[in-house]
């Protein structure tokens, strides 16, 4: 049985978001010490996991409800803007779920027979030379984007909101972290492949600042499937 079939079964149960194919390619990590990676074609959810999607999940797995989740798996801000364990903020059913930790995001995807995308997969899906300026503008704008999914733009593969709505967890978010230790004054540019690539720099910086139980107001996720 092929993976999409497995997904279809899980998806039918949970009514989760559609997966779309993303072409493979070569990902050159931002940090010089890391070898470039060949990425096979894979499937990625069309948009980020929404509050509504997430509600279905916590109903089936009550141990991930706000009042039940162990502190080791999520910090105090977990699902902070939810009204209670089973009530997402009203009017935001189709907004991406944020303030979720890596542990819980990972559990969500596993539950569907899926996985969090790797850094390489995510960066490949989100690669965009055309939108650098807009992306930088979003990174620079303060505050939280209060908008539902599918409200920014889609890539050629039809994948929405990879930039401009929220940050997203990746499976190996901490894989680049050791290099950050040398980050002082200008020297943090020392290990970078392309020092003028400010948008990658920022994502790299964000990933390095996270721990698996952290939850952040601007940080959500979507799931992927390897073919």
């Amino acid at each position: 049985m092929s993976y999409p079939m497995v997904f279809l079964m899980a998806a039918t149960v949970l009514g989760a978001t559609e997966l779309l194919p993303v072409n493979g390619g070569v990902y050159i990590p931002f940090v010089q010490e890391m070898p470039s990676q060949t990425v096979e074609s894979f499937l990625l959810q069309k948009h980020a996991v929404t509050n509504e999607d997430f509600l279905k999940f916590v109903k089936r797995s009550p141990r991930y409800m706000r009042s039940k989740v162990p502190a080791l798996m999520a910090d105090q801000n977990y699902l902070r803007d939810w009204v209670d364990d089973l009530t997402p903020p009203s009017g935001k059913e189709h907004h991406p779920v944020t303030n979720v930790s890596w542990y819980v995001a990972n559990a969500y995807c596993r539950h569907l027979g899926l996985e969090l995308p790797t850094t390489a997969q995510w960066e490949l899906a989100a690669a965009s030379k055309n939108y650098e300026k807009e992306i930088l503008a979003w990174y620079s704008a303060p505050g939280v984007n209060e908008a539902p999914v599918q409200s920014t733009f889609a890539t050629e593969s039809g994948i929405w909101d990879l930039h401009g709505l929220i940050w997203e967890w990746v499976q190996d978010f901490d894989s680049e972290a050791p290099v950050q230790a040398e980050a002082f004054c200008g020297a943090s540019a020392g290990g970078a492949v392309d020092v003028s690539n400010y948008t990658s720099f920022i994502r790299y910086g964000l990933r390095s600042s996270l721990k698996a139980n952290y939850t952040v107001r601007n940080l959500g996720f979507r799931c992927a499937q390897n073919q």
Partner: protein, 464 residues
């Protein structure tokens, strides 16, 4: 024997302040231009410093907004003051609404990254780390999160003063002033919310060079103030990210300069001192004569065109021996007091010029004597140099406007609804030149006078 005991006791004394016996206190943080109070302690302490990084939109210049990334909601961030030997317990929180992580690299800390790696903080989180301040001096702190250039260009820097064990010489007033530059997509003065221009930052072509985070932060009502006869110390920092400052106070001489923010007086009697990017300087001077003193980066187009000006307003009794003001204005004759006519030739007769020629001459004077401040087309610089273009102030009262040029002008005025409180120096022009330039500005730049200003009018206005 006895002596030996005393020596031993003295030697042990400093060691009695072990880490856990150290008194604990919270640092008083101040926003520029204010400086935290001098430290009275004669022993080290554990000092708690709490700061929050906040990303927010605020004013960069009149009509121009910018998304600042800040320590404590301000540019520059709060000033910290501690004592050599203190242990700093630093708590850095990143506001939950922040888009990106931040950290802090304190140049006062010794160890890799100056705290940067230990303090990388995701939005909505807090990092704690400790360090001992071993070296006294005035140090810059800044965010060092990748990409550093962007975090610093957006405003993430401030100063930490580590007082030497025996303190600094007492002064009457202290100020905290930090220069930095901003790179905006729109050109200087272009209105609206201006995004950071990465290209300009990389090329080091800033549109704004400012003191304390925005154009006019030390002008008008925000001018710093002192009295005559006071000793002033300025803690000067330069956040950069790129430019080196040639810091100068027009009309003052620094009595002492602590070069590069070190603890030794490196030079006395200095006109202009350098502040390196990511570095500092301390200067002290005594105020003698009342008046407005203009702070500038003497890389002078930064002051005239990009915003690097501020005002120190000194109040008190004038001291005519130190500075007389203008005593008299007489004609200079190389040969002495009496006019000696040349043996050959006649004194040339004054030829009346046509209005067109006078206006042409007025234009030249405008370009050589006025344009540096009032700008091409008389458009001025908002908040710094008032416009002459369509100026209601200029056109309202001819005599008054003539006196601005002949006698100078200071104090608050309102031009086209905008307040200015600055100094225009006396310009040493002949009466003919004043008549010509006044004729020119009153008939150009959207001002619609039809008449010429005559030399007689200038002479009369001056003497009023």
């Amino acid at each position: 024997m006895k002596l030996g005991h005393i020596v031993l006791a003295l030697a042990l004394l400093p060691m009695s302040w072990t880490q856990d016996k150290m008194p604990i206190e919270e640092a008083t943080l101040t926003y520029a231009p204010n400086v935290p109070p001098a430290i009275k302690r004669d022993h080290p302490a554990r000092v708690q410093v709490k700061m929050t990084t906040i990303e927010k939109v605020s004013r960069l210049a009149d009509g121009v907004e910018y998304t600042f990334w800040t320590f404590g909601g301000a540019v520059p961030g709060p000033m910290i003051r501690v004592r050599e030997g203190d242990i700093i317990d630093f708590m850095l929180s990143n506001h939950p609404d922040s888009k990106v992580p931040h950290n802090i690299d304190l140049h006062a800390a010794t160890g890799p990254g100056g705290g940067a790696a230990a303090s990388l903080t995701a939005p909505g989180h807090t990092s704690k780390f400790s360090f001992k301040v071993i070296n006294p001096g005035l140090y810059v702190y800044h965010c060092a999160t990748a990409p550093v250039g962007m975090h610093v260009a957006n405003g993430m820097y401030g100063l930490i003063l580590v007082e030497p064990k025996f303190g600094l010489p007492p002064v009457d007033r202290e100020f905290y002033i930090m220069q930095s530059e901003f790179y905006t997509v729109g050109r200087n003065g272009e209105r609206g919310l201006q995004p950071l221009s990465m290209e300009k930052a990389i090329d080091e072509r800033p549109d704004y060079v400012v003191f304390n985070g925005s154009v006019g932060a030390l002008m008008g009502d925000n001018a710093i103030e002192a009295k005559t006869g006071e000793k002033i110390r300025m803690y000067l920092g330069n956040g950069g990210p790129n430019l080196i400052s040639s810091f100068h106070v027009i009309g003052e001489i620094f009595d002492d300069v602590y070069g590069e923010g070190g603890t030794m007086i490196s030079q006395k009697n200095v006109q202009t001192t350098l502040i390196p990017a990511g570095g500092s300087a301390m200067v002290t001077f005594r105020t003698e004569v009342p008046g407005n003193y203009v702070l500038v980066d003497h890389s002078i187009t930064r002051a005239f065109n990009k915003g690097a000006v501020g005002i120190l307003k000194v109040e008190g009794e004038p001291d005519l021996e130190v500075y007389s003001g203008k005593i008299s204005n007489t004609v200079y004759h190389p040969e002495g007091g009496t006019i000696q006519s040349m043996p050959i030739g006649k004194t040339p007769e004054k030829v009346a010029l046509s209005p067109a020629k006078v206006l042409e001459h007025g234009k030249e004077i405008y370009e050589t004597s006025c344009q540096a401040c009032h700008q091409a087309g008389g458009k001025g610089i908002p908040g710094v140099f008032p416009p002459l273009a369509k100026s209601d102030w200029l056109m309202a009262d001819l005599n008054r406007s003539i006196r601005v040029v002949t006698n100078g002008l200071s104090g608050e005025i309102v031009v086209n609804g905008v307040k200015y409180n600055s100094v225009m120096p006396v310009l040493h022009l002949s009466d003919e030149d004043v008549a010509a330039v006044m004729s020119y500005v009153r008939q150009n730049f959207g001002n619609n006078a039809k008449d010429m200003v005559t030399v007689e009018q200038v002479v009369k206005a001056k003497s009023e």
